[in-house]
């Protein structure tokens, strides 16, 4: 729940009447609910901010008490301290720290929003005019029924473009149901009026012919509607997959941090298919069987209302049972989906890492691990199938009770002459047809849960927020000059764990900055922020004086080049990979780029030259070759700002030299931010930014920093020792 602007009346009264706070409390600005009491109990607490005060209240036994009341003007600082499993908010007042409250990670995001807004308010210069707008009303909690309704509505919007086909198919389906009602009625006439009397025997062939015609028409109509629904279903599954594929490209990187590729693959392959099942098997069945049930109920009542009532006796039991079965089975379907997703992830992992597996001679263990997942899939599937196979015969039994009642009561009526034998026969024929759709409808209870889970999951991805490519008020920057500014940049992947703290940096166009620090110091994170894979939590990143958040994402990224540590190449030819960022590039330009990247020579020596297929992830090329193709790709992309993650792996001296040369050409005239590992790069850098635990500790040239004998000096010494052992010092 985000920030709120209403607090319980009781609490409000309490705040207003608090004698400690004086009279001037000011109106309520916002509040944030938290979840821990001061003594660590899980209970509701609240951070309330008025125009002049910050109040912390906690509730025990339904009554609110105020634990802290501070004047905003007196607060000089606020800190969020990450604890284990919780965070604490501390205020600085008169030079001393006051622990205000603790809260779990569940409300960490809300609290960080609250603190963000609070920071504008505290201190003598605080002004409430800067506060972020708060949500008017808490977001309603969607119940699962509402969620299902939403899913149905989404399914419908998918179908909308094809509504004509759908209407025709439905009309044909209705016709098929109507024709279905005819044969038992004809049978009744046959038994009661034709077979009993010699004089009407002439009707026999006519009625049989009518029966035959109704069967033929029914068959034809069923084929037509089946085919139409099949095409429609495939089309819709295709639409769903296309939309999934589109969205997957547009989702922010953050999304992929939380998802495993295998799970997403399962989504594309299996879940999108469930939309097909819905329209091809489920929807037509429901319509057809539903109509049959309604039509048949009408006919049964028309023939004999007393018997018809008996037929309906088991219906409530059937409905009751199917609803409960649905809920019961739903859980097992969820488990099954999870086990499949894990299974795919595991297999995907094992196959992509097969080289590592073999080198470490871990085939047996991998096999065993995969087998374990296979067993989990088996158990999950078995749980579903065993249960649904138990439940269905039980349902069938309930259904058969109706038949017994009809035999008994109908028999009595035929005996007493109130009903003809033909009518009883017709009744039984209808009965057989009546319970079968009812049973079918209930057996669908089996797959409604599975289908709905899968469909909901599909929509979950489709409706995930995509990256904001062109935010409102976008500034057009077709070509950067390349001036880079980081102003007090703060960032954390998780709200309460900052990874970068207070980074300030000013880079002139064409300057090269080396980023140095231990692993985990925040170098890669800084680079991700530059590419705007993530947005800063505090401060800003400016290019040519414009905040990157105000730029069109495509425009921004098209002017940033990125050479990864272990570059990813796509399966396809060398040419395809070099021109990845610039499809229009001529062959001459491609060759030129490859020459500058020192890649041309090795490429033309390959049997297929530039047409060589590089294999999955570029696996057919060596590490050094991949590097150079990636550099050629970056050169052709012609970025204004270059981001470089130097490979740590030691290559042979010759290759090393070639890559250094190539990088040198790539960096020429471009603002470059490089995570540097090689001494040569460090020496060549105009300035070096040394990071430690997410904070900038030193900034200067190689020589300056060496003279200072600080953090950088230590890092270089360590590096030199290692390099002299490996023997590849740049």
């Amino acid at each position: 729940m985000p920030l709120i602007n209403k607090i319980p009346a009781e609490l409000n009264d309490l705040i207003q009447s608090d004698p400690l706070a004086g009279d001037d409390k000011g109106e309520l600005l916002f509040a944030c609910k938290t979840d821990l009491a001061p003594d660590g109990r899980i209970d509701e607490s609240m951070l309330v901010v008025t125009r002049r005060q910050l109040v912390v209240a906690t509730r025990s036994d339904e009554a609110w008490t105020l634990t802290h009341t501070l004047s905003l003007a007196a607060i000089t600082g606020l800190t969020v301290e990450p604890l284990v499993g919780a965070s604490a908010l501390t205020a600085e007042v008169d030079g001393s720290s006051i622990r205000l409250l603790r809260y779990t990670h569940a409300v960490a995001q809300d609290m960080s929003d609250a603190v963000e807004s609070l920071l504008h308010l505290i201190g003598p210069d605080g002004s409430p005019d800067h506060t972020e707008p708060v949500t008017e009303e808490p977001v309603p909690d969607w119940s699962s029924r509402e969620a299902h309704l939403r899913t149905f509505r989404r399914l419908w919007t998918f179908c909308l473009p094809h509504w004509r086909t759908l209407v025709i198919a439905m009309v044909v389906t209705i016709a098929a149901s109507a024709i279905d009602l005819l044969p038992p009625y004809l049978t009744m006439i046959l038994v009661d009026q034709v077979l009993v009397d010699q004089s009407t025997f002439i009707w026999l062939p006519i009625i049989v012919a009518l029966l035959a015609v109704s069967r033929i028409v029914h068959t034809g109509v069923t084929i037509i509607s089946g085919r139409m629904m099949a095409v429609l279903g495939d089309r819709l599954a295709y639409d769903a997959r296309s939309e999934l594929l589109n969205v997957l490209q547009l989702l922010p990187l953050k999304y992929y941090d939380m998802q495993q590729t295998g799970g997403l693959m399962a989504r594309i392959a299996r879940d999108a298919k469930s939309i097909h099942y819905f329209w091809i098997d489920f929807a037509p069945q429901v319509v057809q069987q539903g109509l049959l049930v309604i039509g048949m109920t009408a006919v049964l009542f028309y023939l004999n209302w007393e018997l018809a009532l008996l037929v309906l006796v088991p219906i409530p039991a059937i409905i009751y049972a199917s609803i409960h079965i649905k809920r019961y089975l739903m859980w097992f379907y969820g488990r099954s989906w999870d086990s499949w997703a894990t299974f795919f992830e595991r297999v995907n992992d094992a196959l992509s890492g097969i080289r590592v597996v073999k080198i470490f001679a871990q085939e047996k263990r991998q096999s065993r691990d995969m087998q374990l997942e296979n067993e989990k899939v088996f158990t999950a599937e078995r749980n579903i199938h065993v249960r649904s196979r138990t439940v269905r015969p039980l349902l069938a039994f309930i259904v058969s009770v109706g038949g017994l009642l009809v035999w008994w009561y109908g028999g009595l009526q035929v005996q007493s002459g109130e009903m003809t034998t033909g009518m009883l026969m017709a009744f039984f024929l209808y009965l057989a047809m009546f319970y079968s759709p009812v049973q079918q409808l209930t057996s669908m209870a089996d797959w409604i849960p599975e289908m709905m889970t899968a469909i909901t999951r599909t929509f979950e991805v489709i409706d995930s927020p995509i990256e904001d490519y062109a935010p409102a008020g976008t500034v057009d920057v077709p070509r950067f000059e390349g001036r880079l500014e980081l102003q007090d940049v703060n960032f954390g992947y998780v709200a309460h764990q900052p990874v970068l703290k207070g980074i300030n940096l000013h880079v002139e166009p064409g300057e090269m900055i080396g980023l140095v620090g231990h692993s985990g110091a925040g170098k890669s994170t800084l680079i991700k922020l530059m590419c705007r894979f993530y947005d800063v939590d505090g401060g800003q990143i400016l290019i040519d004086g414009i905040d990157v958040r105000r730029m069109d994402l495509m425009q921004l990224r098209s002017q940033i080049g990125y050479v990864e540590q272990d570059p990813f190449l796509f399966s396809g030819s060398v040419t395809d990979n070099i021109r990845f960022g610039n499809q229009e590039a001529s062959r001459e330009a491609i060759i030129e780029a490859a020459i500058n990247a020192n890649a041309h020579e090795f490429i033309v020596k390959l049997p297929d030259g530039y047409d060589t297929s590089v294999g999955e992830r570029g696996g057919r090329l060596s590490g050094g070759e991949r590097q150079r193709v990636a550099i050629a790709r970056a050169i052709l992309h012609d970025p204004r700002i270059l981001i470089l993650d130097e490979p740590t792996s030691a290559l042979d001296l010759e290759t090393e030299k070639k890559i250094q040369e190539a990088l040198g050409r790539l960096m020429e005239g471009r603002t470059t931010l490089a995570i540097a590992h090689r001494l040569s790069t460090l020496r060549d850098a105009d300035r070096l930014l040394v990071l430690k635990n997410g904070e900038p500790v030193e900034l200067g040239t190689h020589e300056e920093l060496l003279d200072r004998q600080g953090e950088y000096y230590r890092l270089v010494q360590l590096h030199t020792n290692v390099s002299s052992i490996v023997g590849v010092e740049g």
Binding site: S573, T575, R587, E588, I591, E592, I595, H600, E601, I603, V604, K605, P607, D608, G609, Y610, D611
Partner: protein, 159 residues
Amino acid sequence: MSFLDPSAIRLERRDDQPPTLSIAGDLFFNVKIRQAFPLSFENRYITFFDQEDEYLGLVAEPSSCDESTFRIIRDEIEWRYFRPRITRVAEMEGRGGTSIFSVETDRGAVKIPMRDLREGMMELSSGRILITDEHGNRYEIPDLDRLDRRSRRLIRRLI
């Protein structure tokens, strides 16, 4: 040294010897000639290497060279890149996981054994197909539409 001027180079060759290249007066013996884009631009972007296999340079438009040089380039390419062109597919049979094509090519009839059809058949551009057999030999169908109907049908089934 990257893009060479076609008018500044000259190739000479004596019988069965590798050719000699002169670039603006400098002589290089036993040069190797390779295509930069053997599959997508066969007739352009020709690269030269000396006898130590050191890179010498590239000519983007070899047809602008003098006639005899251009002819030698074509011969050398023909010599280096052995890729028979398929003119007819006579038969296709499956034998225990391996498919065998009996084909006629511009270099004579041949049987092509293939283990993985998906990997081995590559449509370079519409109608132009490159076939790599299980030994790594290359065959090419320059234009599928120009084969006879039966051959077309046999191939179409697989791509």
